[in-house]
């Protein structure tokens, strides 16, 4: 396993989260790879520092969130909003493909994928 911590470990607002580890160069490099961003070597330290400031600021929430308060994932307290299983017309293929940068034989055409397996 790599020594790079997962993004969850640097997330400051998890249940019971108080202190968070400092964002390292390696964290930035890993996140940049996951986001497919080309970040130059000299930028790693700078972004690590900036992200650290951001995460520390957000972590202020942890100071007031008690352990018995669940992290919020929705602003509206609704549950069980369901749709009937009834087909409704969507877009025609022409409408769908009209918005595509490129199309071929009724399909969206995209560049080759970054040398990785699916």
């Amino acid at each position: 396993m790599s020594a790079v911590p997962s993004t969850e470990q640097v997330e400051p607002t998890g249940p019971g989260g108080t202190e968070h580890p400092t964002v390292s160069r390696e964290d930035v490099a890993h996140l940049a790879h996951l986001a497919r961003l080309a970040v130059a070597d000299e930028e790693l330290d700078r972004y690590a520092e900036q992200l650290d400031v951001i995460l520390h600021s957000v972590a202020a929430v942890a100071a007031v969130a008690a352990d018995d308060i669940e992290p919020t994932s929705h602003a509206v307290p609704l549950i069980n909003v369901y749709r009937e299983d009834v087909v409704r017309p969507g877009l025609t293929p022409e409408e769908a493909l009209a918005m595509a940068p490129a199309a071929d034989a009724g399909r969206f055409r995209v560049p080759q994928i970054l040398g990785e397996e699916q």
Binding site: V87, A96, R107, I113
Partner: protein
Amino acid sequence: MTTAELTPAEWAALDDVADFDEAIAAFDPVLGLEVHVELGTATKMFCSCATTFGAEPNTQVCPVCLALPGAMPVVNGTAVEYAIRIGLALNCSIAPWCRFARKNYFYPDMPKNFQTSQYDEPIAFDGYLDVPVGDEIVRVEIERAHMEEDTGKSTHIGGATGRIHGAEFSLLDYNRAGVPLVEIVSKPIVGTKASAPEVARAYVATLQDLVRSLGVSDVRMDQGSMRCDVNLSLTPAGNPVFGTRTETKNVNSLRSVERAARFEICRQASVLTAGGEIRQETRHFDELAGTTASGRVKETAEDYRYFPEPDLVPVAPSAQWVEQIRAALPELPWVRRERLQRDWGFTDLEMRDLTNARGVELVAQTVAAGAGAGDARSWWMSYLAQQANSAGVELSELAITPAQVAAVIGLVSSGSLTAALARKVVDGVLAGEGEPAEVVEKRGLAVVSDDSALQAAIDEALAAQPDVADKIRSGKVQAIGAIVGAVMKATRGQADAAKVRELTLKTIG
């Protein structure tokens, strides 16, 4: 499969692997099975697009499943009900409250750049499935069954193999993007030793029967509405610590599940015996060669940065709704089997063999089409089983329907066909020559029931073997076999032996 179809690389792959028996002697396999089931709802998981299989590309898409700006998903209530049905049938607990999560990744098969799935809050968890394997029952523990959506279909153009490596571009059809899926994840299955490949297959087959009986999916592995990933690791015999596992994808038939597990056991044993290490990776199963090939290394690829889906509200099925669904579950396959066994009067052994051959529903349908249970069982378990076996397919995959088998049985009981002729009629149906009656007609297979024609053949046979009649008269009745044989030969097997026997005895007087 002929060996000539193998490429040199595939040959090399086969040469590298250890003998299965040696592999099992040195290592204990640990299995984990992930099965995706596409639900048979009319619409997608989060939008009202149709889910019809095989539609023209991009004809079942809308702003939600194409991830156009501002489009908002809404959960399909029927899909939730189907997922709960599956969970209950697998003896799972149903979550009183759970959420969807975003699984972020960058493949274009989801235009959103994430797949909506469930992460640490699956709708169903901690269940089990009892799987008949040979004359034993293996209990497979179920870790979880969670809801998610299927991805679009990519066609890679320009690469030699149709896979991503070497492709110049990809074409995307999003008809399948957003189709509701339930992913059923087993806990590690240990202690199966040499039967691991068979257990893997039996588990998927049992699950397939179960899900089909629930009416929530057509579970067609050939069409991808049921798909299996085989996780497998080896641990030195007797060692309780699991080894590094591989995940083999693209396993599209029951037979392939068994072959993929078997191949991975042999391959990993070779690597480990030679002092190598197993990489944690995704592998692809090659149906033709029966081998697996390395895909991506999982370590970084699995960092999907899951987080709760902010566009969907939590799913909180009430206990009342869950109990309603439980009460309305159809008769599950094993309960049904017990009832059918009583109705049919089969012995435990007969029923077990039929179950293991996955012939119960076929016999049930044959009986429903008018055949006797004993006749139906005997056809499916002997002649048809032989045909399925030699073709390497399941009984249900044979090109004959239970109704056609019942029709053949009907022709035998009415005396129109002998057992031998009936097998030829079945051959004709399997060869695509039409309904049993048409095959009888086209192949001219009807029993010679014209008594005068039979009488002429008998007279001729008696004349040719004059001593036989004397033997029979003197009490050696078994000598009649020579006459029956001659008549059968003269009628090209199209006479009813019992009838020939009766007429011969009458002739001799």
